[in-house]
Protein backbone atom coordinates (compact mmCIF):
# COMPACT_ATOMS: atom_id res chain seq x y z
CA UNK A 1 0.00 0.00 0.00
CA UNK A 2 1.40 3.40 -0.87
CA UNK A 3 1.63 6.01 1.84
CA UNK A 4 -0.57 8.33 -0.26
CA UNK A 5 -3.48 5.91 -0.16
CA UNK A 6 -3.03 5.07 3.42
CA UNK A 7 -6.27 4.82 5.32
CA UNK A 8 -6.03 4.89 9.09
CA UNK A 9 -8.68 2.15 9.29
CA UNK A 10 -6.31 -0.37 7.67
CA UNK A 11 -3.65 0.07 10.33
CA UNK A 12 -3.10 -0.36 14.02
CA UNK A 13 -4.42 2.68 15.88
CA UNK A 14 -1.00 3.78 17.12
CA UNK A 15 1.00 2.95 13.95
CA UNK A 16 0.97 6.38 12.41
CA UNK A 17 3.44 6.70 9.56
CA UNK A 18 1.81 8.58 6.66
CA UNK A 19 -1.63 9.01 8.23
CA UNK A 20 -3.29 12.42 7.78
CA UNK A 21 -3.32 14.23 11.12
CA UNK A 22 -3.96 17.54 12.79
CA UNK A 23 -1.35 20.23 12.10
CA UNK A 24 2.03 19.92 13.80
CA UNK A 25 2.59 21.93 16.96
CA UNK A 26 5.92 22.05 18.78
CA UNK A 27 4.51 21.28 22.24
CA UNK A 28 6.50 20.33 25.31
CA UNK A 29 5.64 20.14 29.00
CA UNK A 30 7.86 19.36 31.97
CA UNK A 31 7.19 15.83 33.17
CA UNK A 32 4.84 15.55 36.16
CA UNK A 33 6.15 13.52 39.11
CA UNK A 34 3.65 10.70 38.53
CA UNK A 35 4.55 10.60 34.82
CA UNK A 36 8.19 10.15 35.68
CA UNK A 37 7.31 7.38 38.15
CA UNK A 38 5.19 5.74 35.45
CA UNK A 39 8.14 5.86 33.07
CA UNK A 40 10.41 4.43 35.77
CA UNK A 41 7.83 1.68 36.40
CA UNK A 42 7.94 0.76 32.70
CA UNK A 43 11.72 0.44 32.84
CA UNK A 44 11.54 -1.62 36.03
CA UNK A 45 8.89 -3.93 34.53
CA UNK A 46 11.23 -4.41 31.56
CA UNK A 47 14.43 -5.18 33.47
CA UNK A 48 12.57 -7.39 35.97
CA UNK A 49 11.34 -9.35 32.91
CA UNK A 50 7.66 -8.78 33.75
CA UNK A 51 6.63 -6.61 30.75
CA UNK A 52 9.02 -5.87 27.86
CA UNK A 53 9.05 -2.59 25.95
CA UNK A 54 7.61 -4.34 22.89
CA UNK A 55 4.83 -5.97 24.95
CA UNK A 56 4.01 -2.53 26.31
CA UNK A 57 3.79 -1.11 22.78
CA UNK A 58 1.44 -3.87 21.69
CA UNK A 59 -0.51 -3.46 24.92
CA UNK A 60 -1.10 0.21 24.10
CA UNK A 61 -2.23 -0.71 20.55
CA UNK A 62 -4.65 -3.21 22.09
CA UNK A 63 -6.42 -0.39 23.94
CA UNK A 64 -8.00 0.60 20.61
CA UNK A 65 -8.25 3.95 18.92
CA UNK A 66 -11.02 5.45 21.07
CA UNK A 67 -9.19 4.83 24.34
CA UNK A 68 -5.81 5.81 22.90
CA UNK A 69 -7.20 9.15 21.74
CA UNK A 70 -8.93 9.81 25.06
CA UNK A 71 -5.94 9.13 27.31
CA UNK A 72 -2.67 11.00 27.69
CA UNK A 73 0.63 9.30 26.93
CA UNK A 74 1.32 7.98 30.46
CA UNK A 75 -2.35 7.29 31.20
CA UNK A 76 -2.23 4.80 28.31
CA UNK A 77 0.84 3.17 29.81
CA UNK A 78 -0.77 2.82 33.25
CA UNK A 79 -3.92 1.20 31.81
CA UNK A 80 -1.84 -1.05 29.55
CA UNK A 81 0.28 -2.23 32.51
CA UNK A 82 -2.87 -3.12 34.46
CA UNK A 83 -4.26 -5.12 31.53
CA UNK A 84 -1.00 -6.98 30.95
CA UNK A 85 -0.49 -7.72 34.65
CA UNK A 86 -4.03 -9.18 34.79
CA UNK A 87 -3.40 -11.23 31.63
CA UNK A 88 -0.12 -12.57 33.04
CA UNK A 89 -1.77 -13.42 36.35
CA UNK A 90 0.63 -11.18 38.28
CA UNK A 91 -2.24 -9.29 39.93
CA UNK A 92 -6.00 -9.69 39.94
CA UNK A 93 -8.60 -6.99 39.22
CA UNK A 94 -9.92 -7.44 42.78
CA UNK A 95 -6.50 -6.77 44.31
CA UNK A 96 -6.10 -3.68 42.17
CA UNK A 97 -9.54 -2.30 43.04
CA UNK A 98 -8.83 -2.80 46.73
CA UNK A 99 -5.40 -1.17 46.51
CA UNK A 100 -6.76 1.82 44.57
CA UNK A 101 -9.47 2.36 47.18
CA UNK A 102 -6.83 2.21 49.94
CA UNK A 103 -4.56 4.72 48.24
CA UNK A 104 -7.43 7.07 47.51
CA UNK A 105 -8.51 6.88 51.15
CA UNK A 106 -4.95 7.60 52.26
CA UNK A 107 -4.91 10.85 50.24
CA UNK A 108 -8.38 11.87 51.36
CA UNK A 109 -7.38 11.48 55.00
CA UNK A 110 -4.14 13.44 54.64
CA UNK A 111 -5.96 16.20 52.76
CA UNK A 112 -8.43 16.89 55.55
Amino acid sequence: MSAQNRDAADWLPNDLGGVATAPFERVEHPMLPWEKRCHALADVLDFRKIISTEEKRRGVEALGETTINKLSYYERWAVCFANLLFAKGVITPEELALKMAQIEARFNRSGE
Binding site: R26, M31, C38, L41, L45, Y73, E75, M100, G111
Partner: protein, 215 residues
Protein backbone atom coordinates in the same frame (compact mmCIF):
# COMPACT_ATOMS: atom_id res chain seq x y z
CA UNK B 1 -14.93 3.09 42.66
CA UNK B 2 -12.39 5.87 42.23
CA UNK B 3 -13.64 8.75 40.16
CA UNK B 4 -12.14 9.74 36.82
CA UNK B 5 -11.14 13.25 37.77
CA UNK B 6 -7.57 14.15 37.01
CA UNK B 7 -7.12 15.82 40.38
CA UNK B 8 -6.10 19.42 40.78
CA UNK B 9 -2.54 20.30 39.93
CA UNK B 10 -0.55 20.93 43.05
CA UNK B 11 2.88 20.25 44.39
CA UNK B 12 2.98 16.76 45.82
CA UNK B 13 3.59 16.67 49.52
CA UNK B 14 2.09 20.10 50.09
CA UNK B 15 -0.70 18.49 52.12
CA UNK B 16 -3.74 19.03 49.92
CA UNK B 17 -2.60 17.17 46.83
CA UNK B 18 -5.25 14.93 45.29
CA UNK B 19 -3.91 12.48 42.75
CA UNK B 20 -6.00 11.73 39.67
CA UNK B 21 -7.39 8.32 38.75
CA UNK B 22 -4.43 7.30 36.61
CA UNK B 23 -1.89 8.37 39.18
CA UNK B 24 -3.72 6.25 41.77
CA UNK B 25 -3.57 3.41 39.26
CA UNK B 26 0.19 3.88 38.79
CA UNK B 27 0.81 4.02 42.55
CA UNK B 28 -1.36 0.94 43.10
CA UNK B 29 0.45 -1.15 40.50
CA UNK B 30 3.85 -0.23 41.93
CA UNK B 31 2.77 -1.00 45.52
CA UNK B 32 1.20 -4.34 44.57
CA UNK B 33 4.32 -5.39 42.66
CA UNK B 34 6.49 -4.57 45.69
CA UNK B 35 4.11 -6.40 48.07
CA UNK B 36 4.22 -9.46 45.83
CA UNK B 37 8.00 -9.36 45.70
CA UNK B 38 8.01 -8.95 41.90
CA UNK B 39 9.96 -5.71 42.12
CA UNK B 40 12.23 -4.29 44.81
CA UNK B 41 11.00 -1.40 46.96
CA UNK B 42 13.93 0.72 45.72
CA UNK B 43 13.60 -0.14 42.01
CA UNK B 44 11.43 2.83 41.05
CA UNK B 45 13.49 5.38 42.98
CA UNK B 46 16.71 4.03 41.47
CA UNK B 47 15.23 4.11 37.98
CA UNK B 48 14.14 7.73 38.46
CA UNK B 49 17.76 8.55 39.31
CA UNK B 50 18.82 6.88 36.06
CA UNK B 51 16.19 8.86 34.10
CA UNK B 52 17.40 12.10 35.70
CA UNK B 53 21.00 11.33 34.77
CA UNK B 54 20.24 11.07 31.03
CA UNK B 55 20.13 14.35 29.12
CA UNK B 56 21.25 15.92 25.83
CA UNK B 57 24.64 16.91 27.32
CA UNK B 58 25.70 13.24 26.96
CA UNK B 59 24.85 13.16 23.26
CA UNK B 60 26.55 16.52 22.82
CA UNK B 61 29.79 15.04 24.21
CA UNK B 62 29.59 12.20 21.68
CA UNK B 63 29.04 14.64 18.83
CA UNK B 64 31.83 17.01 19.88
CA UNK B 65 34.26 14.10 20.29
CA UNK B 66 33.34 12.82 16.83
CA UNK B 67 33.99 16.26 15.32
CA UNK B 68 37.43 16.44 16.95
CA UNK B 69 38.58 12.84 16.62
CA UNK B 70 38.19 11.17 13.23
CA UNK B 71 39.03 7.72 14.61
CA UNK B 72 36.39 8.06 17.33
CA UNK B 73 33.87 9.15 14.70
CA UNK B 74 34.58 5.99 12.71
CA UNK B 75 34.00 3.86 15.79
CA UNK B 76 30.85 5.84 16.68
CA UNK B 77 29.36 5.31 13.23
CA UNK B 78 30.37 1.63 13.24
CA UNK B 79 28.91 0.83 16.69
CA UNK B 80 27.20 3.58 18.67
CA UNK B 81 26.77 1.49 21.77
CA UNK B 82 30.47 0.60 22.06
CA UNK B 83 31.59 4.18 21.34
CA UNK B 84 29.27 5.40 24.13
CA UNK B 85 31.02 3.03 26.53
CA UNK B 86 34.34 4.74 25.72
CA UNK B 87 32.85 7.93 27.22
CA UNK B 88 31.35 6.04 30.15
CA UNK B 89 27.80 6.24 28.78
CA UNK B 90 25.99 2.95 29.34
CA UNK B 91 23.05 1.80 27.20
CA UNK B 92 19.74 0.40 28.29
CA UNK B 93 19.40 -3.34 27.98
CA UNK B 94 19.10 -4.77 24.46
CA UNK B 95 19.09 -1.46 22.61
CA UNK B 96 21.34 -0.76 19.64
CA UNK B 97 22.41 2.81 18.92
CA UNK B 98 22.88 3.72 15.27
CA UNK B 99 24.50 7.10 14.68
CA UNK B 100 23.56 8.79 11.39
CA UNK B 101 25.99 11.33 9.96
CA UNK B 102 24.71 14.49 8.32
CA UNK B 103 26.81 15.51 5.30
CA UNK B 104 26.73 18.09 2.50
CA UNK B 105 24.39 15.81 0.57
CA UNK B 106 22.32 14.02 3.26
CA UNK B 107 20.26 15.30 6.17
CA UNK B 108 19.00 12.73 8.71
CA UNK B 109 15.77 12.82 10.66
CA UNK B 110 14.67 10.45 13.42
CA UNK B 111 11.08 9.42 14.21
CA UNK B 112 9.17 6.58 15.81
CA UNK B 113 5.98 5.97 13.84
CA UNK B 114 4.90 3.12 16.13
CA UNK B 115 5.23 4.82 19.48
CA UNK B 116 8.00 6.96 20.95
CA UNK B 117 11.31 5.08 20.73
CA UNK B 118 14.12 7.57 21.17
CA UNK B 119 17.87 7.49 21.94
CA UNK B 120 17.13 8.24 25.58
CA UNK B 121 20.33 6.70 26.94
CA UNK B 122 22.20 9.58 25.30
CA UNK B 123 19.68 12.46 25.18
CA UNK B 124 17.07 11.70 27.87
CA UNK B 125 13.31 11.44 27.39
CA UNK B 126 11.63 12.77 24.22
CA UNK B 127 9.68 16.05 24.01
CA UNK B 128 5.90 15.80 23.71
CA UNK B 129 5.81 16.73 20.02
CA UNK B 130 8.02 13.71 19.24
CA UNK B 131 5.39 11.44 20.84
CA UNK B 132 2.32 13.08 19.29
CA UNK B 133 0.56 12.06 16.09
CA UNK B 134 1.40 14.91 13.69
CA UNK B 135 5.18 14.50 13.94
CA UNK B 136 5.06 10.70 13.80
CA UNK B 137 2.67 10.60 10.87
CA UNK B 138 4.24 13.33 8.78
CA UNK B 139 7.97 12.75 9.30
CA UNK B 140 7.90 9.71 7.00
CA UNK B 141 5.57 11.24 4.43
CA UNK B 142 6.57 14.87 4.03
CA UNK B 143 9.78 15.42 6.01
CA UNK B 144 10.83 18.48 3.99
CA UNK B 145 7.57 20.30 4.70
CA UNK B 146 7.58 19.24 8.34
CA UNK B 147 11.15 20.47 8.81
CA UNK B 148 10.14 23.88 7.40
CA UNK B 149 7.71 24.12 10.31
CA UNK B 150 10.72 23.78 12.61
CA UNK B 151 12.33 26.64 10.69
CA UNK B 152 14.70 24.15 9.04
CA UNK B 153 15.07 24.59 5.31
CA UNK B 154 16.77 21.67 3.59
CA UNK B 155 17.94 22.56 0.06
CA UNK B 156 16.20 20.63 -2.71
CA UNK B 157 19.48 19.01 -3.78
CA UNK B 158 20.07 17.59 -0.28
CA UNK B 159 18.50 14.19 0.41
CA UNK B 160 16.55 13.63 3.62
CA UNK B 161 16.94 10.19 5.18
CA UNK B 162 14.22 9.39 7.69
CA UNK B 163 14.99 6.62 10.20
CA UNK B 164 12.12 4.97 12.09
CA UNK B 165 13.19 3.76 15.55
CA UNK B 166 12.07 0.59 17.32
CA UNK B 167 12.32 -0.78 20.85
CA UNK B 168 15.64 -2.44 19.94
CA UNK B 169 17.12 0.07 17.48
CA UNK B 170 17.54 3.74 18.40
CA UNK B 171 18.96 6.44 16.15
CA UNK B 172 20.98 9.55 16.93
CA UNK B 173 21.87 12.20 14.36
CA UNK B 174 25.47 13.40 14.14
CA UNK B 175 24.94 17.00 12.98
CA UNK B 176 27.43 18.79 10.74
CA UNK B 177 30.03 20.79 12.61
CA UNK B 178 28.97 24.45 12.43
CA UNK B 179 30.93 26.77 10.19
CA UNK B 180 33.17 29.14 12.14
CA UNK B 181 34.16 26.67 14.86
CA UNK B 182 37.58 25.68 13.52
CA UNK B 183 39.44 26.86 16.63
CA UNK B 184 36.87 25.65 19.20
CA UNK B 185 37.85 23.14 21.85
CA UNK B 186 35.88 19.91 22.23
CA UNK B 187 34.21 21.31 25.35
CA UNK B 188 33.22 24.52 23.57
CA UNK B 189 31.86 22.51 20.66
CA UNK B 190 29.74 20.33 22.97
CA UNK B 191 27.93 23.44 24.22
CA UNK B 192 26.74 24.20 20.68
CA UNK B 193 25.05 20.82 20.17
CA UNK B 194 21.31 20.90 20.86
CA UNK B 195 18.86 18.09 21.51
CA UNK B 196 16.84 18.97 18.41
CA UNK B 197 19.94 18.87 16.20
CA UNK B 198 20.51 15.27 17.35
CA UNK B 199 16.90 14.35 16.45
CA UNK B 200 17.51 16.04 13.10
CA UNK B 201 14.73 18.62 13.23
CA UNK B 202 17.19 21.51 13.21
CA UNK B 203 20.66 22.16 11.79
CA UNK B 204 23.32 23.98 13.77
CA UNK B 205 23.81 27.60 12.76
CA UNK B 206 27.20 28.97 11.72
CA UNK B 207 29.00 30.57 14.65
CA UNK B 208 30.06 34.23 14.34
CA UNK B 209 32.04 34.72 17.54
CA UNK B 210 34.43 32.48 19.44
CA UNK B 211 33.25 31.94 23.05
CA UNK B 212 36.54 33.38 24.34
CA UNK B 213 35.98 36.71 22.56
CA UNK B 214 33.72 39.48 23.68
CA UNK B 215 31.27 40.20 20.87
Amino acid sequence: MPNHDHGHVDTEGSGDYTPGYYEILERSLAELLVEKGRIDANDIRREIEVLDSRNPALGARLVARAWCDAEFKKRLLANGRKACEELGITSYEDTELIVLENTESVHNLVVCTLCSCYPRAVIGLPPDWYKLKPYRARAVKEPRTLLKEFGTFIPDDMAIHVSDATAQVRYLVLPQRPIGTEDFTEEELAKLVTRDSMIGVVRLDPVQVHPGEVP
